[in-house]
């Protein structure tokens, strides 16, 4: 449309989560903001969900993983695929949506960050004196994004089910500029991993909604407890995120000092810059 803001195609022509489906089932109608555009979601009596902006229909709306996805432009690619969510014994559940007054890119970076766990999530996902971050591998997959493997941190209470602390192995993958997922060693089935995905909805350049999808193996997992735990954890991140200055993510390596433990974050910033992402960023 003529009044479209000049948002880069890598974001404009991609799918973004804009709501949990359960929210629409409850209220029938829901208004939100995506890439600076007001989007109205409605659910009719037959259960069909439609999206519109300024009274005009948005054709590209679909449901996946319990969330409503919208593409404002022409979809250049499909919604991210999670093979884990198709495994029948998995418990796939939305863990909620949290508004955060900061660029969504800062929220993605925080999700990738290992060294804050002992401070921001002390007693749960980390604790002093276990603050040292061992070397891990960062690669840039040919299909885009950032992959961090071999991450290992000591966690006193790594999940809603655990009461014993242990060293936890992590793999992180940035799949799209605003989508990141982590795989975490399951304490019962060593060969399989629990998965948590963060779908960040870029509302404005300086605000976002973080939608959390959990896909746990079925060992003593209770969805309400999972939801409560994830919201509690995100509630610890939120005040930190909202106190980052500036609110947009600076992509220049000189803007903020990185150390080796920030390898994944530094790679994420470089990849965003090389991919031409500007919305929510301070370009180099």
């Amino acid at each position: 449309m003529a009044d479209d803001p000049e948002v880069e195609s890598i974001l404009w022509d991609d799918w973004h989560v804009v709501a949990e489906v359960s929210r629409l089932v409850e209220f029938g109608r829901f208004e939100t903001v995506l890439l600076g555009i007001k989007v109205l979601l409605e659910r009719d009596a037959s259960g069909e969900i439609t999206a519109s902006r300024a009274g005009r229909d948005i054709g590209c709306v679909t449901l996946r993983y319990g969330f409503v996805w919208v593409c404002l432009g022409r979809p250049a690619r499909t919604i991210v695929d999670f093979a884990e969510c198709l495994e029948p014994d998995r418990l796939t559940a939305s863990a909620g949506s949290v508004r955060v007054a900061v660029s969504g890119l800062r929220a993605v970076e925080n999700f990738l960050d290992l060294s804050h766990l002992a401070f921001v999530h002390a007693g749960y996902l980390g604790e002093e004196p276990h603050t040292e971050i061992a070397r891990y591998n960062v690669t840039l997959p040919p299909e885009g994004g950032v992959l961090a493997t071999g991450c290992r941190v000591y966690q006193p209470k790594p999940s809603p089910m655990e009461s014993q602390g242990f060293d936890v192995d992590y793999v992180y993958a940035v799949l799209r500029p605003y989508i990141v997922v982590l795989y975490k060693a399951n304490p019962v089935e060593r060969a399989r991993k629990d998965m948590i995905a963060l779908f960040v909805q870029p509302a404005t350049e300086e605000s976002c909604v973080a939608h959390i999808l959990t896909c746990y193996l079925p060992h003593e997992v209770h969805p309400p407890a999972v939801r409560r735990f994830q919201q509690f954890i995100f509630g610890q991140d939120r005040p930190i995120l909202e106190n980052q200055v500036p609110k947009r993510l600076p992509l220049s390596p000189r803007a903020e000092t990185s150390v080796r433990a920030d390898g994944s974050s530094a790679a994420y910033r470089r990849w965003l810059g090389a991919s031409g992402v500007r919305f929510g960023a301070i370009p180099t």
Binding site: S115, V120, E256
Partner: protein
């Protein structure tokens, strides 16, 4: 009060009352649009820092004042009194680069107030008024109006006392941010120091000198508090008017 020194290029500004520097706490203040983390170390030194960790930009005022260092809330990085990073918990055996530091401003304590100079080359030592160690500090008043509007309002009809002989007392302008009224009759003089928070907001700090007698102290404080509140309400009404 008398003029001590003429203002210089490297001017300093009041940012807080000294009582606001609570031991082992960090105050957040603003000056000319810049956010400052203000803290006192156990050795008594006052520090004014850019309120932002150089690592990931989190406000340092969220962190911890250990008595000798500030510790960032996000990743536990520590910075000593010079603003230099001393410890990075994710790499505990490595010495942080000497260039890794927080931006710091120079500070001074004078007349019951903390002063900051944004010019790093010039120490904050230039004061317009002679210090009276017995002076009484007024409650600071935050006003959503530019400093110039407040200076104008203070210099037009501020009453230092309700007594009839003090009715016509004008507030003399030392400079654009420092205004004083001499003692009149039984009313002690008052000096105002304006803290330009940003272009639209100002804090009025005030100092009563000589200190009023103990039995009159409360009445004096009340009088100024009422006067400043009325001035604030009038200015904010004007600012809000279409």
């Amino acid at each position: 009060m008398k003029l001590d020194q003429a203002p210089s290029a490297g001017r300093c500004y009041p940012v807080a009352r000294t009582e606001e520097l609570i031991p082992r706490r960090i105050a957040q203040v603003q000056l000319l649009g810049r956010e400052i983390a203000l803290w006192r170390s156990d050795d008594g030194a006052v520090h004014a820092w850019e309120n932002r960790c150089p690592h990931r930009g989190v406000r340092l005022s969220l962190g911890t004042n250990t008595g000798t260092e500030l510790r960032c809330r996000y990743h536990g990085w520590r910075f000593n009194g010079d603003g230099r990073c001393t410890f990075i918990p994710s790499h505990p055996t490595q010495k942080p680069a000497s260039t890794l530091r927080v931006g710091i401003y120079s500070t001074a304590v004078h007349s019951g107030l903390v002063w900051v100079s944004l010019d790093p080359e010039i120490a904050a030592t230039t004061f317009l008024v002679r210090e009276d160690p017995h002076a009484v500090t007024l409650r600071s008043v935050f006003v959503a109006a530019p400093a110039a509007a407040i200076a104008k309002s203070l210099s037009h009809g501020y009453r230092i006392s309700a007594a009839p002989e003090a009715a016509a007392t004008a507030v003399a302008v030392f400079d654009d941010l420092t205004l004083a009224a001499p003692a009149a009759g039984r009313a002690p003089g008052v000096t105002f120091f304006l803290q330009p928070v940003d272009v639209m907001r100002t804090v009025i700090h005030g100092l009563v000198s000589p200190a009023p007698d103990a039995h009159e102290r409360l009445a004096v404080l009340r009088h100024h508090n009422t006067q400043l509140s009325l001035l604030r309400d009038a200015l904010e009404r004007t600012a809000a008017a279409p």
